[in-house]
Amino acid sequence: MANKNRLSIAILILFVSFFYFCAEKQHGNIKKNILKIGTTRGGFKSASLLGDTFLALFARISNPPLMTMAKDGKLEGLVTARHEVSEDCTKWKFYFDPDLFWSDGTKVTAEDAKFSIKLLAEVVPHARWLHEIINEVYIDEDNALVFELERPYSRLDFDLTTYNILPKHIWKTIEDPLRHTSNDEMVGCGPFVIEKIDLNAGLIRFRKNPYWKGFQPELDGIELHLYNNNDVLAFALERGKVDTYYRYASSYPYPNIERLKATDEFDFLEEPHYGLRFLGFNLNKKPMSDNHFRKAISYAIDYEEIIKLDILGYGEIPSRGFIPPIMPAYKETEELEYDLEKAKCLLAEAGYIDRNGDGFRETPDARKMKLLILISMDYVRLAELVQDYLEAAGIDAQLKTVDYNTWISMKDRNNYDLVVSRTSPWGMFMHASWATGYFDARRTGEGVLHNVDDPNFLKLCDDILSTKDEEKLIEYASHVQDYYARFLPAVALYWSRTVIPYQKRFSGWSPNPLFGLYNIQNFLNLQIRGQDTLSFN
């Protein structure tokens, strides 16, 4: 008895003293202005700049790409000073900023850019398509980088917003560049360069590039803190372990916003989101191939309730034209409407009637109809609602939740009737812009539907890809949105706003459409107010 008591008391004392001893030390960054960004680890797997798409994203501020997108959706040069494109869009010319230096003092030249693009095209799987479209790349007498393309392609400047530029003098000696990982200093030419990557501590640290000649930022450094779990990240944010939240193409979880507001330590960036959630149709199968069916479905969805339940009111009902108002060349089309009676009417008119009285409609040729809604795990709640709405309209629908990889493979094999998924901001602009990348049947890619093979639509895409003429593009964009409104290859479920919280002492945020607050302009312009003692807990 005594033994056991003594043992338990000893353990208790050990615990208590341990706690006391190890209580979290508060180390506020009083000497330096550092922005701590909390993010989820997502797909970040290794410290390989070429091999890991997430590191490539994070490294956009240390190894900037040639182009970037400004707040208004226009493309502007980052490493390039300016660029020109021929009228038929087959010849591109990029001029370089003479005042750009790598963090080891060497000058950035067109050679670096040529080397980087060639290396990426050769080595990185998702950049290999560049091989097929680029005929020749060389540096001409103006010291500009010239691309001569296989065919007209007006979107090269857009695609170049994702390829990091590397220092040739360092990378040309690396044997296996795709697998080259480095946890220490990475030479870059951005205002901040990677100082340390520590996967075990979940940290990527940036320090100022001493050779940055541009606008001097107030920030002394940036830290990216990586969490495996979104809830724990929310805790850390509230406790001040990180200053703000970043997640590619996502808002801070809406349910947690009110809580942060109540602490009075945070301000919020609220921006319209370029991406959206949608209900997609497998146009190769009946009844989804039936225009009337799709139109009827669009009336069966309670958009208001979805906005209330899925994004807690931070959004608006979308239109049939799919494209949100924030996108350039937006055209107003008919707003989507929830009218269950009308939906039922349209379904009945189109021949979808419940003949056997089981509560569910059959096809016009009297065959049983049970639709498969294929989703990956993130969209369960949204899909539950959609399934509910379909059932209310008399359509038997079943949810199939699979992991993302399986979802892609099933979708690409047309093994589905409906999907609930999302478009990302990048995705809205890719291919021929205005979400055409998701529908063009000649394409493939992770999240795209590639369900439209209508030659009219495809010609429209090709037209957009071969011109930079502003007026023509606006006209084409209008046609694209009309097409969506008329044929509904997918129904947008809502247009949302992203909300990003940040510690009050930071201000002057300038998010860009593609990557939100994770862009160079933003970090350059960020202002920090004094040292508040209350933000260090």
């Binding site: 979104n230 979880p253 947690n256 809580r259 795990m377 709640r381 079943q398 939740t401 099933m410």
Partner: protein, 269 residues
């Protein structure tokens, strides 16, 4: 002795209560758990435990959630126990090559990883609780088989079995009327433990997003509570009750199993 019986009674009472709740779920729950009201409501008169992120009544969800846990738990345990009994009995009784073969098979099954199997099955069939139950049952019969086998090995050396053999009874008869009753005290606690592990596995799979959204389950409730801000907003009435239910249900089954084991083992001395 008295205390043990009390533990037993309490365990039986709890298990019976949960089973009853699962069966009478439709009658006793105040609302249909699939009906939607105002989301994120705190506990109030209409909703004892408030509502979740899409407005379902949490208390009704809780009551209906017992079904999924029961189905997966008991279903998986039945499959596992039946398979394990058969394999273990025959393996332990006949010994020799048959034994080695069966034990080799258990080694193999022991190594099949849980999650990939469920991903594979979910892709080809529909990810439902029946599937999870099947998968778990197919993976866990091995430990029951081992325990049954070692007990069979012991029992078959006993006198009355030898005498039955001498008297010329068929093997199958000996197995089922002499050995099987002696295996029971070992199998029952194993069964209970398998139920417990299966229920916890269902909760864990739901946490990873591999659960079955067509059925309300405690594991899924916790999962949604976590994803949709229940934890961060300190809505303990959302994530604690399903967690506590899992703990309580598993606890009652496990304690029943353990006390059964203790009692019968003492009697068998």
């Amino acid at each position: 002795m008295n205390n043990k019986r009390k533990l037993n009674r309490f365990g039986i009472f709890l298990v019976a209560m949960f089973v009853l709740i699962a069966i009478l779920a439709d009658i006793i729950s105040p609302h249909d758990p699939w009906d939607r009201f105002e989301p994120y409501e705190k506990p109030n008169r209409n909703h004892i435990l408030g509502t979740n992120d899409i407005g379902n009544d949490i208390f009704s969800e809780l009551i209906h959630g017992s079904r999924a846990s029961l189905v997966v738990g008991i279903g998986a345990a039945i499959i596992a126990t039946l398979l394990g009994l058969l394999v273990g009995l025959f393996s332990g009784y006949f010994k020799g090559t048959l034994d080695e073969m069966f034990m080799g098979i258990t080694d193999i099954f022991l190594m099949i990883p849980r999650i990939p199997l469920i991903i594979i099955l979910a892709a080809f069939l529909n990810s439902s609780n029946w599937l999870i139950m099947l998968a778990l049952g197919l993976l866990w019969w091995t430990s029951t088989a081992r325990v049954v086998r070692s007990r069979t090995l012991q029992v078959r050396e006993m006198d009355y079995v030898a005498s039955a053999k001498c008297l010329g009874f068929r093997n199958s008869h000996i197995i089922f009327s002499d050995i099987l009753p002696n295996i029971f005290p070992v199998v029952v606690p194993k069964f209970m433990l398998t139920v417990a592990t299966a229920m916890i596995s269902e909760a864990s799979l739901s946490f990873l997003g591999l659960g079955d959204p067509s059925m309300k389950s405690w594991g899924l409730m916790i999962n949604f509570a976590l994803i949709k801000g229940g934890l961060v907003n300190e809505m303990w009435w959302w994530y604690l009750p399903p967690g506590l239910c899992i703990i309580l249900f598993v606890y009652s089954i496990v304690s029943l199993g353990f006390s059964f084991e203790e009692r019968k083992k003492v009697n068998l001395r």
